[in-house]
Symmetry: C2
Subunit: 503 residues, 2 copies
């Protein structure tokens, strides 16, 4: 043990003695956990016997963005020749490291924070903030419990778990080839940046000197750490993958392009603001990045990092775009924010504004006001999804979902979440799948007819969905939640009209 100990120590020291300026990324020698104790609770656990085999490797071949793609539509039909379990769907509930009972409607912090505040705290610090990625028969999840998980999509059994750093993992794992990318960060500020925010908000950064932030590259098969790209600000958003690169936005207002193979930095642009949970989208040579505090939508040249244009939503409040990842399709970027705060009957209220931008020029094409409602905790807009020429998006202040014509901004219908709960609902992106619209909000799954917004299905999962979208592959809906579970629900249990195809 002594020999190994010294060997590891010297190797790390040598790496770190290279002048910092010469390093664009760091390759830590130490694997997660503790090289001195294979039984460390943070040691990587790899169970190869649980990996999917042969025809079970279904679903997308890669996962390049939060919510699966720049459109955020995470529905993936399978062929009629797919295995029966894929078409019919499977049911399982995988308890992550701190799983809170799904049958308990009350979040952990309710006594001291109240239920209303404790719900977003549970999303930010307890379980999964986003939903899950699904690639070739494996469900990948990141959790606030600081672990990432690879789970067999058919059986719900763990393939690997790992915890490369003491920080929250709040995104969708990206999966490209044989690599998985995690992003680490939390909503926290240290005192120096609290003071900085008072004197000069432009240079205060979220996540600075708060634990360890950045991007972790793992082997997708084993979960083994390949490299780490550290960032000063938090890296809560999910990166976007394109052009063999990862595009990252951080809590100190930076956007990075790094090489997805080795983590080397290609460019870095400081646009200002705080990235929060807004994940970038890459589309036709541009990176679209939402920033908070000074709320803005930035279009950067994906090759050079120069800012092509900046879009705004009039009256957006400081955190208003915080959870909103821009959706892009057909030359239009859709962004939204809570905006225009006003005291009504003695209580703070806001509206949600949705705006379509010309993806090339940044010209605002239309703006849709989804209506005014009570200020909710962690006040932010919902995540938009584009399918065909329709935008589907929620408004947490009204707990409504709207269908909006992508070209004109005309509202096609509005649907109100039946039981939004005290913290409001309608945060997550819907999923359009086999002519129906699936929504995960509060503790529930809903199915709407996308033509008219009529509810045609409902299913109670339990826990809470934060900014979670349903990831649907074949006959199964895969969902992470704030209670620290990954869940598989058969589509036919949620929507009885679902056609599982012939056996």
């Amino acid at each position: 043990m002594i020999k190994r100990y010294y060997a590891i120590g010297i190797a790390v020291t040598a790496t770190l003695l290279i002048p910092t300026a010469a390093l664009a990324s760091i390759t830590p020698v130490l694997q997660p956990g503790n090289p001195f104790d294979p039984d460390s609770p943070f040691a990587r656990l790899y169970l190869p016997q649980n990996a999917p085999k042969g025809k079970d490797k279904v679903g997308p071949a890669e996962w390049t963005h939060a919510y699966g793609s720049p459109t955020h539509n995470a529905g993936f039909p399978v062929s009629a020749h797919a295995p029966a379990w894929v078409r019919r769907g499977v049911q399982w509930n995988f308890p992550e490291a701190r799983a809170w009972p799904l049958t308990d409607p009350t979040p952990f912090g309710a006594q001291v924070d109240g239920v209303k505040e404790a719900l977003p705290v549970q999303t930010q610090f307890y379980g999964n903030a986003l939903g899950v990625s699904m690639v070739r028969g494996v469900v990948y999840a990141e959790s606030d419990d600081m672990f990432a998980y690879a789970i067999n999509a058919r059986t719900g059994k763990l393939i690997w778990r790992t915890s490369p750093v003491g920080n929250n993992l709040m995104g969708n794992p990206l999966v490209i080839g044989n690599r998985v990318f995690l992003s680490a960060g939390s909503v926290s500020f240290n005192f120096a940046n609290v003071v900085e925010f008072k004197t000069d908000p432009d240079i205060a950064g979220r996540g600075k000197d708060i634990s360890y932030n950045g991007i972790y590259c793992l082997n997708s098969k084993t979960g083994k750490l390949e490299w780490y790209f550290p960032t000063a600000g938090d890296a809560m958003p999910t990166p976007a993958y394109a052009y063999h690169s990862l595009y990252i936005s951080t809590g100190d207002g930076n956007v990075y392009r790094i090489n997805a193979s080795d983590g080397k930095q290609i460019w870095k642009t400081h646009v200002g603001g705080i990235a929060n949970m807004s994940s970038p989208a890459v589309w036709h040579g541009r990176v679209y990045v939402g920033m908070s505090v000074v709320p803005g939508l930035y279009a950067l040249n994906a090759r050079t990092g120069s800012v092509d244009w900046k879009g705004e939503i009039p009256g957006a409040v400081n955190t208003g775009m915080g959870d909103v990842s821009p959706a892009v399709a057909h030359g239009i970027v859709v962004m939204d924010a809570v905006a225009n705060p006003k005291i009504v009957d003695g209580k703070p209220t806001m509206v949600t504004l949705v705006r379509g931008f010309n993806a090339k020029t940044g010209t605002a094409l239309w703006t849709d006001n989804m209506g005014r409602g009570a200020k909710i905790p962690a006040f932010k807009g919902g995540v938009p999804m584009i399918h065909g020429n329709v935008v589907y998006v929620g408004s947490p202040v009204t707990s409504d979902y709207d269908a909006i014509n992508l070209d004109t901004g005309k509202v096609l219908w509005t649907w109100h979440v039946p039981h939004p709960g005290p913290a409001g609902a309608a945060r997550g992106a819907p999923t359009y799948y086999q002519h129906m619209l699936y929504i995960s909000t509060g503790p529930d799954l809903y199915v709407l007819n996308p033509k008219n917004g009529q509810e045609v299905g409902h299913y109670h999962v339990g826990g809470r969905f934060g900014i979670v979208n349903p990831t649907i592959v074949g006959g199964t809906i895969y969902l992470g939640n704030s209670w620290d579970w990954v869940n598989a629900v058969p589509v036919k249990d949620v929507y009885s009209g679902f056609n599982t195809a012939k056996d």
Copy 2:
């Protein structure tokens, strides 16, 4: 499993449906980890075969304060009849869950934060911020890795580890009878409180809505959770135990007295400010509490919670008392702070002021200026220790330790830490033991002659000691460090003149 699942869910729900106002504390039904998965990485691990037996149960019978007592002197001689290993001392290094190589001088975050900033970040987020408690042959430690550990003091083997919540554990575990008390919290603010600090700093609280804070009561033998007292603000400081109660100070400016048996609140007083890492001391019916941001030393009536007096240190900077736990003895409370910032040669500098207060009246008895030095990261004073009528205290801005007459404030000698490193040294309380003074600072242990401040011993441990004091029992020095290790070092290896007593 289903049956168990429902049973647990219903039990928790029932508990939480009791009206909040009726609850003074909460007893969670869920044990740490995950009741649905006994292999959860956060599951409590209990290895009874490693517990000390018979005569090996040496050391103090209880641990009531940070640094062991209101004087902060953690030296515990043993009788000449103690087992040989106790008198001669033992050597081991216990790697905690994320142990970083002790041979690596560079902290984990150096590349992105720089070494100077990465050192305090490692103390705040990676390993042990304070030293360890030692009771009846067991070393107890809390770590930023979110685990608490009970380790056999003789063998260095794990007896139990547990992680009751996703937050940093930064104090000394208190050990009273068959109970261990942990305090959970971190240095983080959420955005709402960042904004609040800008508009009304008096009501901004550290730790509010940041994960889960409060006091955890465990069975000392097994580590099993008995109850949890949640607090809104962070509970980074170590509570003080007296009168069958725990006295707690929090990041939102509150001081609590709770019943140490059941966690029921007895009183709560809002004094304002932020507790930071200043741990209360109880002495002769009063609780002494240091607060930051509005820096102040408060003396509260331990029975009622009313404030008897408030003491100040002139010119103390906002975080100046942040790491300073008041020491009390012989009717005098000693507190210090970094103060009077001034730009010298274009660089920010500060002084450390140490002040003695009449414990009963709060009258300032004397003030010692330890001199001016460069502003260091996380700028705070050092932790004072009182032995006899002498105060021993460090100044991180000068990396000096002073010996000061407790009654007059007269400086008896000054000793400069030979290799303070870029972040400054001299944070931890010294330990007076068998006529010598032991200091853990930077990666090193030093031994001074307390009569004149001459260095008589030195030992390189590695890693970094944050606000760590040497806990000495018999012939062994026990130390936690920021590299996530608990270390046992024979006293005779540090000070060759140490008398291990006859075998």
